[in-house]
């Protein structure tokens, strides 16, 4: 990258959204997750392991805080009496569990990006929060600054660690994505390898991607279709229509649902008040009954 290019196009580098003068064009990848449809089956998480070459670290390493799961299902249990400070009578109630799939929210003004000392994590013009593994030096500052705690660190060189991938399983690794080495940070990429492959094929045809041509692994396997992924700019896309129906704005820090009571809207984004402007909209649960 020459210095002249750097100076001429300075506004394009380290370009944090939302800004009005540089709108996303032609893509802004976004997601919406219907928590009412989510059954907490963990299929998305498994698909993510398979698609993105994630190591299964095991119980001991997990207990040591070396967890590694780009897509995780968070569980929330109802408390018997919300006013009481006493601990719940039972650790796991028979029913009423609520699930929330949690992955990198691909924030438009991502807190992780600004703190990276080497610029390994950047915002892409299509609205992704990219992670260049070969540039990462493993300071873990991004993880410390991530409000969603969705960045995972390679504490070991997993490809060479015994029992992570038994020899016969190396054939099932995805060749389209890097095998991360020890000392680098990683996170959900919105299956960037699928997006790039899709972009390449439509560039040959001289057009842009249509809705449904790129699916993320988690979306593909979700049995209830709770996860929708697509191009937020494309008004034909399902994700655009869902965001619109829920009146969720990418550049707002408070959504309609929270402004007025009984609006009937369900769309919100997590920790919106932090103004990270996430790209994932969740639709809150309606059902009272448990699964």
């Amino acid at each position: 990258m020459s210095v002249t290019n750097l100076l001429e196009n300075w506004s394009e580098f380290r370009h944090a959204h939302p800004v009005g003068d540089v709108p996303h064009d032609p893509y802004k990848w976004a997601m919406s997750i219907d928590l009412d449809a989510c059954t907490g089956c963990n299929a998305c998480s498994v698909a993510c392991y398979a698609e993105n070459n994630l190591p299964v670290v095991g119980k001991e390493k997990y207990a040591a805080g070396h967890s590694m799961h780009w897509m995780r299902i968070e569980r929330y249990w109802p408390v018997d009496d919300t006013t009481s400070l006493e601990p719940a009578t039972r650790e796991f109630p028979d029913q009423g569990a609520q699930f929330l799939p949690m992955m990198c929210q691909q924030c438009e003004a991502a807190p992780c990006e600004t703190v990276c000392p080497v610029g390994a994590t950047n915002h892409t013009p299509d609205g992704l929060n990219s992670q260049a593994y070969n540039r990462c030096v493993g300071s873990r500052y991004c993880s410390a600054n991530c409000p969603f705690k969705v960045r995972y660190f390679n504490w070991y060189d997993y490809p060479t660690t015994e029992n992570v991938w038994p020899a016969e399983m190396t054939q099932q690794l995805n060749p389209d994505i890097t095998l991360r080495s020890k000392g680098v940070m990683e996170k959900c990429t919105f299956c960037v390898q699928r997006i790039r492959a899709g972009e390449r094929s439509v560039k040959n045809e001289g057009r842009v991607l249509k809705d449904g041509e790129v699916q993320t692994a988690c979306q593909q396997v979700c049995p209830t279709g709770a996860i929708t992924f697509g191009n937020l700019i494309d008004s034909e896309s399902k994700v655009h229509q869902q965001w619109k129906a829920q009146r969720v704005e990418l550049t707002a820090d408070e959504q309609e649902k929270d402004k007025e009571a009984d609006s009937g809207l369900r769309g919100y984004r997590i920790l919106e008040e932090l103004r990270a402007y996430p790209s994932v909209m969740y639709m809150e649960r309606v059902r009272e009954s448990a699964i």
Partner: protein, 219 residues
């Protein structure tokens, strides 16, 4: 006084750091001083000059995956045999005899990789061939040669360029014509390069740069 001690400790640290770095010197350097890659010994000394220069065979005829895949790949042996079973004049030469030995034994020729990128880079042949051969209507040997050097003058191919990121960017930062005279039109629908709309010059030519975003190649 303490300043000198501090300085001495710093020097010692630097020395030990540099010596421990030198201990890793068994790793081959990525590039040589003149950007020439190492000499690669192939199982058969394949004469690129005979095929590409004397016979004038199109690069893409044998390296056929370059126009439809990420990796150009090595042609299957059927490609060699397909022609050579009909070329009696060279049938008894040592290299062709060796080729048919592999063929009769039903074994693949263990070619070695010459242009090997690190695993964290995703290079796509298809887009480069589509863009420069088909849309810009440039000669194939010129397009392939931009990265692979003048292969028609070589026997066994040898890496000619550094293939380092800065070298990639030196071309990606230039503005290239999208469709040149005689090139394949790409339709009226919108298309983007480098995730940006191509720019229109004063004389009406449409130009675009190559992608320069980290996640275009590193993921």
């Amino acid at each position: 006084m303490y300043r000198f001690i501090r300085f001495a400790i710093l020097l010692m640290g630097l020395l030990s750091a540099s010596s421990s770095f030198a201990a890793d010197a068994h790793l081959e350097p990525l590039t040589t001083a003149d950007d020439l890659g190492p000499v690669v010994e192939q199982p058969i000394e394949f004469p690129h000059n005979r095929h590409a220069k004397d016979m004038g065979i199109n690069c893409i005829y044998c390296h056929t995956y370059s126009r439809r895949g990420n990796v150009a790949g090595i042609p299957p042996m059927q490609k060699c045999i397909g022609c050579h079973q009909n070329i009696e004049s060279v049938r008894e030469t040592p290299r062709i005899k060796k080729l048919f030995e592999y063929w009769d034994a039903k074994k693949a020729i263990p070619w070695k990789k010459v242009h090997d990128l690190p695993d964290f880079v995703r290079f796509n042949h298809e887009r480069h061939i589509k863009r420069f051969v088909f849309q810009q209507n440039r000669p194939v040997q010129e397009v392939c040669g931009a990265c692979h050097g003048d292969v028609k003058e070589m026997t066994v191919a040898r890496r000619q360029k550094s293939l380092a990121m800065g070298w990639c960017m030196s071309c990606h930062e230039k503005e290239h014509v999208v469709v040149a005279q005689g090139g394949m039109p790409i339709g009226t629908a919108a298309y983007w390069y480098a995730m940006k709309k191509p720019a229109v010059k004063a004389d009406g030519t449409v130009v675009a740069k190559g992608p320069n975003d980290c996640s275009s190649c590193h993921y």
